[in-house]
């Protein structure tokens, strides 16, 4: 037991010691402590260094608004977190915490030299300093800034924890389980409405936890709290969640809740997620978030030991910790007086209460003096002393035009209170308006945009009685709005601590205000002087003041600094605060881990992986895989000792010389059926379909209405009214969406039905001169001879006993078949063909070989050789346009002036002068490699491979006026050399006559 821990006080468990370390030093706290309260119990106030000046800092608050006590916490590899707020992190056995932003140690930090040179680092320092010379930016300024930027150390290992997410629906969501929230939840739940009550701390109760002396309905606060929680817990329609922060309030009462599940546990269950994101759709929301205490701005208000008075009260009552033996109180609000009384009662000897107000309720002064506390009304604090811990306070009487002669008062802590700011962050997320209350000098909720009720201190009410009644009213209103019936309850409260206060800008001083370090934003080291400087240098909008000074941009997002900054900016501008306005509050309310947002979308479940029925076979046969859209596709099948190049070359040779087998199941497939199917196809695709016979296939080209190529694929007509449409692997959903769009909204009169059948068919491609010989014995009910079933035929038949759609098609330039069987038979058919193919040396090939073979034939891949700006003419596909058709999607655009202008990029072939050189896909092409940069870029390489069949490299490229450049030599500048290549008008490199298709 340290001298700062008070026996029998607080809600901590005095029988359960908890061991932890801070900067390697061992400490002991109690179960129920936060890291901050445990350190304070050990007399440790110095918990961090500020961002810019590296000033020593102590804990200021007892909640999520903490700007200073940010630490690194760790529980092993992949479980390090920077910027953990010591005020929120619950103590757990074995917790390792380290201070941040200091070197070599927290007590002695070399970076604090910045503090001595503070005059160099005023507001706008970055904007003014790192201006010139231009050349210094990359090599000097940026590295220096990056090195100095950021608090804490970003972990480099992957996060070892798991995260979860849930949706929930409730009639009433109550945010904040202080007195207002509890009363609201009670009222709403008694109506029978479903209620969720959430609180960001470990325990419900809010301010009641820091005010045990108040009595409610004849019970002491904590007894009333237990009884209330017991009543709520017994109700089946109530869910209470602690350690759960409402981080964002979105449209139509959708609220995001971040729930911390394991950070407080010494040994979390192995399978437990660390955090869970809730997306709650609430019928009614009650915001009972209370108010945030404001610090006071005076010189030296940031020394360790200076903290909010309300925080000291929380440490005392909730954690049984006395923040100091000789605290000095500086306030503009009655609430801090009670902190002084409570500390005196707990055995501390408060040195003084300094109140800026000339007079306060005499009850306060009488009581203060009765317990031996000096009272200085109408006084200002004009300085503090003490390096790593505050030692004294400098106090001056307020006189006309400023502060009078100063006096020094010894102390070991300073408890400040500049009044309270209603916490309206979530309300502001809804774009609810805020109204400036002249009397309270605070923004209060104005016009609402959601079904929301604000209760308690969040709308400027003060005192437990007022807040309870207001909460009960809000809960009642919410229940009624949710269609329930309930009567509001009024609470009998005694020993309530009502009170009031005033709001000030920085405290008056007798010294040079320009020399004062009166901090507004503690973490970002923004002083009152910086804000005045920003205004002097022309910043008029509060948004500009914020960005110029970085006020409110720290991890507490202005919870402490916003109103103080506004008061000073308004004063400097000579305007009223509401005219200057507040900066925008944005989610999340408090810093939230990326893991919580990611939820289950991590590693293997980051996104869905689609696998074909043949995928297990490919895996068993050692395939290398590549992702294509969401699909996992076999890329190549390396044999022992083969690299990718060797494997692909072997696969290419096999397909060209005997037979290759390829899993084409990922191909998008859409069944277009109905009496108007042919009309629909005529309108959608560029090609003519009316005269395509049943049992025949045609290459189909799909444009957008803008005339650019969207998709392509071979389409078979299986009946007068039935088309088997194939699309690119990645385009299937997009094409179906586009077809549905036209069918539903432009041509609803057409009798056509569209069905995605991509996953219903397994597709096996057999390609190569022996393809027919291989499958002929398996085919029943169909003559597949060259004469009966020529290239571009389609038919239904039976293959190896499986009902099949057989296509005589080729994406390789070889004699080829694509066999579609119901997906469940895909693997079995593959195995049969594999067995039978052994005598032909059947070779499985992957997507890389498929790409090489198709490029040798000049077949394009939409999305690789086209990029959404290529017309059919650009791609050399004019032959695919039904010239006689009056209309099809995109036709009109093809005659727009820009689409027929000269200089368009056209798809051509490129042959490097050195046949061994394979160009890089994406490489830029120029006419004159000696042109000064930036060079005129003519286009880029779209496809480039080593062609095993040709024994040289081949490439396709889009080049301005490409076809007119047939034979021209162009240049491809690379980092280490410039490659020369010859343009060939035709992209068909292999078997240009197409004789192999009908071998």
């Amino acid at each position: 037991m340290t001298s700062y821990r008070l026996a029998n006080r607080g809600r901590v468990d005095h029988r359960k010691p908890v061991r932890f370390t801070f900067d390697g030093k061992r400490y002991q706290g109690l179960a129920g402590d936060t890291l901050a309260s445990a350190l304070l119990a050990n007399g440790v106030h110095l918990m961090g260094r500020s961002f810019k000046y590296h000033r020593p800092r102590g804990v200021v608050s007892a909640g999520s608004d903490e700007p200073n006590a940010l630490m690194g916490t760790s529980r092993g590899l992949g479980r390090f977190e920077p910027n953990t707020r010591a005020t929120i992190q619950e103590l757990r056995d074995g917790l390792e915490a380290t201070s941040q932003n200091r070197w070599p140690s927290l007590a002695f930090d070399v970076g604090s030299i910045n503090d001595r040179m503070g005059s160099l680092f005023s507001a706008g320092f970055y904007y003014k300093t790192f201006m010139w010379p231009r050349a210094f930016w990359d090599r000097v300024y940026e590295p220096v800034i990056r090195n100095a930027a950021g608090l804490g150390i970003s972990p480099t290992e992957p996060d070892a924890d798991r995260y979860a997410s849930r949706f929930a629906h409730t009639d009433v969501l109550v945010i904040g389980a202080g007195p207002a929230g509890l009363a609201a939840a009670l009222a709403a739940s008694r109506s029978g409405a479903s209620v969720m009550l959430v609180d960001e701390t470990a325990e419900p109760g809010g301010s009641l936890l820091s005010e045990p002396s108040v009595t409610i309905e004849g019970k002491l606060a904590w007894d009333w709290l237990s009884a209330t929680l017991a009543e709520l817990a017994a109700l089946p329609n109530v869910t209470i969640m602690t350690r759960t922060t409402a981080i964002g309030y979105y449209h139509q009462n959708l609220v995001g809740l971040a729930q911390r599940l394991t950070d407080h546990l010494a040994t979390p269950p192995a399978d437990a997620p660390r955090e869970r994101m809730w997306k709650v759709r609430a019928g009614q929301v009650v915001l009972a978030q209370g108010a945030l205490e404001k610090p006071l701005a005076f010189d030296g208000n940031d020394r360790p030991g200076v903290m909010l008075a309300g925080a000291a009260q929380t440490y005392l009552h909730r954690y049984g910790v006395k923040v100091g033996d000789r605290p000095a109180i500086v306030t503009t609000h009655d609430s801090a007086w009670f902190a002084a009384f409570d500390l005196a009662e707990a055995g501390a000897k408060p040195a003084v209460i300094v109140d800026i107000r000339a007079s306060v309720d005499p009850v306060l002064t009488v009581r203060a003096r009765s317990v031996g506390i000096e009272v200085l009304l109408g006084h200002s604090v004009t300085g503090t002393s003490g390096r790593l811990r505050v030692k004294s306070l400098r106090v001056s009487r307020l006189e006309k035009g400023g502060a009078g002669t100063a006096r020094k008062i010894a102390c070991d802590s300073v408890l400040m209170c500049g009044g309270w700011t209603p916490s309206l962050h979530l309300f502001s997320h809804t774009k609810g308006s805020l109204t400036w209350d002249i009397e309270l000098k605070a923004f209060l909720p104005g016009k609402k945009t959601e079904a929301v009720h604000i209760a308690g201190a969040g709308r400027g009410l003060w005192g437990i009685a007022a807040v309870l009644d207001d909460g009960a009213n809000a809960g009642t209103e919410a229940a009624r709005a949710a269609g329930r019936n309930v009567t509001a309850q009024s609470y009998a409260v005694t020993v309530d601590r009502t009170g009031s206060g005033v709001t000030v800008k920085e405290l008056p001083t007798d010294r040079d205000p320009a020399a004062a370090k009166a901090f507004i934003d503690f973490q970002n080291d923004v002083t009152a002087k910086d804000i005045r400087l920003a205004v002097r240098e022309g910043m008029r909008s509060i948004e500009h003041v914020k960005r110029y000074t970085t006020n409110g941009m720290a991890t507490d997002q202005g919870k402490m600094s916003n109103i103080n900054g506004l008061m000073i900016a308004a004063d400097a501008l000579g305007k009223q605060p509401p005219q200057v306005g507040l900066t925008t509050f944005r989610p999340p309310y408090t810093p939230t881990t990326f893991g919580t947002f990611a939820g289950y979308h991590q590693d293997a479940t980051f996104e869905a992986t689609r696998k074909t029925p043949i995928d297990p076979w490919a895996q068993a046969h050692g395939a290398a895989f590549e992702p294509v859209a969401l699909w996992r596709r076999a890329w190549y099948f390396p044999k022992a000792g083969e690299d990718m190049h060797a494997a692909v070359a072997r696969e290419c040779r096999a397909a060209r010389s005997s037979v290759g087998i390829f899993d084409a199941s990922t191909l998008g497939k859409i069944e277009v059926v109905g009496p108007d199917a042919v009309t629909f196809m005529e309108r959608m695709y560029t090609n003519p379909w009316a005269k395509l016979g049943v049992g025949r296939c045609r290459y189909g080209l799909l444009l957008g209405e803008d005339g650019f190529i969207r998709d392509d694929g071979v389409i078979g007509r299986l009946a007068q009214d039935r088309f088997h449409v194939t699309t690119t692997t990645g385009g299937a959903a997009r094409v179906l969406n586009m077809m549905e769009d036209y069918l539903q909204t432009e041509w609803p009169d057409l009798k056509v039905w569209l069905t995605s059948t991509t996953e219903q068919w397994a597709v096996i491609a057999l390609q190569g001169p022996n393809a027919r010989k291989l499958i002929e014995p398996f085919v029943e009910g169909l003559d597949i001879s060259e004469a009966a079933f020529p290239h571009m035929s389609a038919a239904t038949c039976t293959v190896a006993g499986f009902r099949a759609r057989l296509f005589r098609v080729s994406f390789t330039g070889e004699l080829g078949f694509e066999i579609n069987v119901p997906a469940r038979h895909g693997r079995a058919l593959w195995e049969k063909l594999w067995q039978a193919g052994q005598s032909y040396g059947i070779t499985p090939y992957g997507t890389e070989t498929m790409h090489v073979l198709r490029a040798e034939k000049g077949y394009i891949i939409v999305g690789q050789d086209t990029d959404g700006t290529l017309t059919p003419d650009d791609a050399g596909l004019n032959w695919a346009i039904g010239k006689a058709k009056p209309d099809f999607v995109g036709k009109r655009s093809l005659s727009r002036p820009d689409m027929v202008a000269r200089g368009r990029k056209q798809l051509v072939g490129l042959l490097t002068d050195d046949p061994k050189v394979v160009l890089q896909e994406g490489a830029q092409i120029v006419a004159d490699p000696n042109e000064p940069k930036p060079m005129t870029m003519l286009g880029h390489v779209t496809s480039s491979y080593w062609s095993e069949a040709l024994g040289r490299s081949i490439a396709m490229a889009v080049v301005a006026d490409g076809r007119a450049r047939d034979g021209e030599t162009l240049h491809i500048p690379m980092p280490d050399r410039t490659i020369t290549a010859r343009v060939v008008k035709s992209t068909v490199f292999y078997d240009p006559e197409g004789t192999r298709l009908s071998a």
């Binding site: 449209h251 139509q252 969406n737 769009d741 036709k891 727009r896």
Partner: protein, 100 residues
């Protein structure tokens, strides 16, 4: 995440089930070949992009898969109504109580 009423399913459902599909009530011309380049350009690219009530198309893509129309207030990001494809554009003043 918005709640959107599908006029076919007649239910308020989360935005996740829907996909936006551009401005509504821009019909594809009966005979595009009759349009001048300027008219065709306007049809293709020119959109109203109002600050206020916007008539737009949505698709209940992860549901009934139907396209439908909606009037949405772009300042508040609130849906004023949704209605089936092919139905007439709703009267703005009736939707906003004449505030527009």
């Amino acid at each position: 995440m918005l709640l959107i009423r599908c006029p076919y399913c007649e239910q308020d459902l989360p935005e996740l089930e829907f996909a936006y599909a551009g401005e509504a009530h821009i019909a594809r011309p009966q005979d595009p070949s009759q349009l001048t380049d300027e008219e065709w350009r306007d049809f293709l690219f020119i959109r109203s992009n109002p600050r206020g009530v916007h008539f737009e198309r949505w698709r209940h893509v992860n549901g009934c898969a139907r396209f439908f129309n909606a009037a949405r207030e772009t300042v508040s990001d609130r849906f004023l109504c949704t209605y089936k494809a092919g139905e007439a554009r709703r009267d703005i003043s009736a939707l906003t109580g004449g505030a527009e």
